[in-house]
């Protein structure tokens, strides 16, 4: 499976394909268990008369139990599937290490404070020091340690990314389910969607960043204020599609409460896509942060972020000796972004029950 496969998984297609596969798998699984019996049965039936052949079958309690029960575990299968994808597992490991490192880095020995300007005894700052034994990634133009700043920046950017993803997921799912299930709300939501979808997200991002004072909270708000609608719409569409499928119809006929229908019949089906969207919204939130910082509406200097680091680096870009200030944060940003794309896609594949066998 190539990266592009991972990057853009057409859900509809995957559904079709894996449905076939899982049907076959289910058939195989069913057939496997009864193969001996069938053989014996076939021997037995050969040469029997029609009456003997087509008699009423007796009720076998054990058999019916076996069909009605499976030791299938959704999350177990999901994880098993995911760990089969060696490339994704490797990237996940890298990602986890990065996340872990952003947490433990400040507690390691010999680390600098990311916001501290490093002075000599005369209070003269160590500016633009190229990477060396003391400053592993060098220092920036006012003498702050770039290594510490990059990890602090990664931390900030990841916090923004994860928060936006979480808000997207929670708000998007709740709204989407309401939208799909409560018909009276459909008109309202559709209009909200039309309005939000028609104003380019960048513009909303710029406007909100401008109106509110720059802070991590502002950025999270600005990034998530419109993105949930995409998630909600997707959930709503899926619900409309799945809601009237036969098994749900059957459930409804049997008097299953709506809430149970939603949580047991619908949502599991959507986990894979939700996971994908969550994973993709993290890098896009980080990308938005870089953009907002570029146009000068980003975080204040007292908060390090990947966006502000890249922007600082860009300013000194024309001087070859100072380019390390741009390259280090860009590399980290790229690793984080790519990782989330790949892990998101791999995990969403794995989370799709149709891919489980």
């Amino acid at each position: 499976m190539t990266l592009v496969d991972l990057l853009v998984r057409s859900k509809e297609k995957a559904a079709e394909e894996s449905l076939r596969k899982s049907l076959a798998a289910a058939y195989d699984a069913a057939a496997e268990g009864s193969a001996e019996e069938r053989e014996a049965y076939a021997e037995k039936v050969s040469g029997l008369s029609a009456d003997e052949l087509f008699g009423f079958a007796g009720y076998n309690e054990a058999e019916s139990e076996r069909i009605g029960y499976s030791n299938y575990s959704y999350w177990g299968s999901t994880l098993r599937m995911f760990f089969k994808n060696k490339g994704a597992v490797f990237i996940l490991t890298v990602m986890l290490m990065i996340i872990l490192f952003t947490i433990i880095q400040p507690h390691l020995p010999n680390q600098f404070d990311p916001y501290a300007v490093n002075f000599d005894e005369r209070y003269i700052a160590a500016r633009n020091v190229s990477p060396n034994g003391t400053y592993w990634f060098g220092t920036n133009s006012i003498g702050q340690d770039l290594w510490a700043r990059i990890w602090a920046g990664t931390r900030t950017s990841l916090i923004i990314g994860f928060s936006v993803a979480l808000i997207d997921a929670v708000v998007g799912i709740v709204m989407g389910v309401l939208w799909g299930y409560v018909r009276r709300l459909d008109f309202l939501f559709t209009e909200i969607y039309n309005v939000l979808d028609n104003i380019p997200q960048t513009i909303i991002l710029i406007l909100i960043s401008y109106m509110m004072s720059p802070s991590v909270k502002t950025l999270i708000f600005a990034c998530s204020v419109t993105s949930w609608i995409g998630m909600a719409r997707f959930i709503r569409n899926q619900i409309l599609i799945i809601r009237d499928r036969d098994y749900n119809l059957a459930s409804r006929c049997l008097g299953t409460p709506t809430r149970r229908l939603i949580f047991r019949n619908l949502l599991p089906y959507l986990v894979s896509v939700i996971m994908l969207r969550i994973a993709l919204s993290i890098p896009s939130a980080i990308g938005n942060e870089v953009f907002v910082t570029y146009i000068g509406l980003g975080l204040p200097v007292t908060v390090s972020s990947l966006g502000s680091l890249i922007n600082e680096g860009r300013k000194v870009m024309t001087v070859a000796a100072l380019r390390y200030q741009l390259f280090f944060p860009t590399i980290i940003l790229s690793i984080v972004t790519i990782s989330f794309y790949i892990i998101g896609n791999a995990f969403s594949d794995a989370a799709d029950p149709k891919n489980h066998r």
């Binding site: 190539t2 592009v4 209009e191 039309n194 309005v195 406007l207 109106m211 146009i295 024309t318 794309y341």
Partner: protein, 313 residues
């Protein structure tokens, strides 16, 4: 078909109306500094007088009514801080053509590159070219545009032997900005086209065609490509808008007098009338873009009959 088009058009108009109202209302929440060239130096009485004169003390519906009246006269008010007393329409009139030209060129470029790349990647799925294309796509996705645009400018201008700044009269000066702006969409088109083509090639009719002995090239271009191209078409009008907004990087690097950075500039200068006009302009282009996308799809793909399920785009 005509019925669908009318319906779709009407819905766009309604949406546009709502968007306008929402944006207009939101703009009233902007700081009032943006209605004066020299807010800091005015007394309270002057500020009140100025607000009254501009009709900003009227109730919101009245203001909205006046605004719509102005729209029909093609009057968006004047700029206050960006270019004092110059009509907004005049400012936009100078900037729009440049952006549209650049936007069209870059969309064209990205199609010229993106479609063959996507096709080739699908054709050689899993092989070298596919992997090369993948690296390209991943690079564009992962590295911030602000960084590689600057690299392209610094090294590209040396390679082409042109100045760092844009000069409309020199055709070679168009290459780098257009190329930079096209990169994102190129990757985007290539990515999706490849996806659709790979999906399409797994369909039964392809197997059938193959079984019938239709040549691989004929299958690829006559069947797979044509069917895969349809969903891609829907993106093109809206990617045009994103290109214009996204051109802020390129425009500021090369000194191109377009629309890209304008919104940011007028926001920084809190020029409320300008912000309002530009947001509305973008929203309008956005609405039209989505509509065009839908209509293009319908026209290109007779299988799609949207009339039956209007309301769910």
């Amino acid at each position: 078909m005509a019925k669908y088009l009318t319906k779709r058009l009407l819905r766009s108009v309604v949406t546009l109306f709502i968007v306008t109202c929402v944006v207009f209302t939101l703009m009233r929440a902007m700081p009032i500094e943006g209605y004066f060239q020299n807010y800091e130096k005015l007394t309270d009485a002057q500020i009140q007088a100025g607000l009254r004169e501009q009709g900003l003390l009227d109730p919101l519906p009245v203001q909205l009514w006046h605004f719509f009246q102005g729209l029909f006269r093609w009057d968006f008010g004047v700029s206050h801080t960006y270019r004092t007393n110059v009509p907004v329409t005049e400012i936009l009139r100078d900037k729009l053509p440049v952006s549209i030209r650049l936007g069209c060129l870059s969309i064209l470029t990205s199609m010229v590159f993106g479609i063959p790349i996507g096709t080739m990647m699908a054709r050689h799925k899993g092989r070298f070219f596919d992997k090369l294309g993948t690296v390209f796509i991943v690079f564009i996705q992962a590295v911030p545009a602000a960084v590689y645009f600057l690299l392209i400018q610094l090294y590209g201008t040396t390679a082409l032997g042109v100045g760092l700044l844009f000069d409309a009269a020199n055709p070679r000066c168009w290459i780098l900005p257009v190329l930079s702006m096209a990169l994102g969409n190129t990757a985007y088109y290539a990515m999706w086209l490849r996806r659709y083509m790979v999906d399409e090639s797994n369909k039964d009719y392809v197997t059938l065609a193959r079984a019938k002995g239709v040549s691989e090239n004929a299958i690829m271009f006559r069947h797979i490509f044509r069917n895969s191209f349809v969903p891609l078409v829907q993106y093109i009008p809206s990617s045009f808008l994103n290109t214009i907004i996204g051109s802020i990087y390129v425009e500021s690097l090369y000194s191109i007098p377009g629309m890209g950075g304008l919104l940011v500039t007028v926001i920084e200068k809190s020029d409320n009338n300008m912000v309002q006009a530009i947001v509305l302009l973008y929203a309008t282009v956005g609405v039209i873009g989505l509509m065009l996308g839908d209509i293009l799809m319908t026209v290109l793909d007779p299988r799609i009959t949207l009339a039956g399920k209007a309301g769910d785009r």
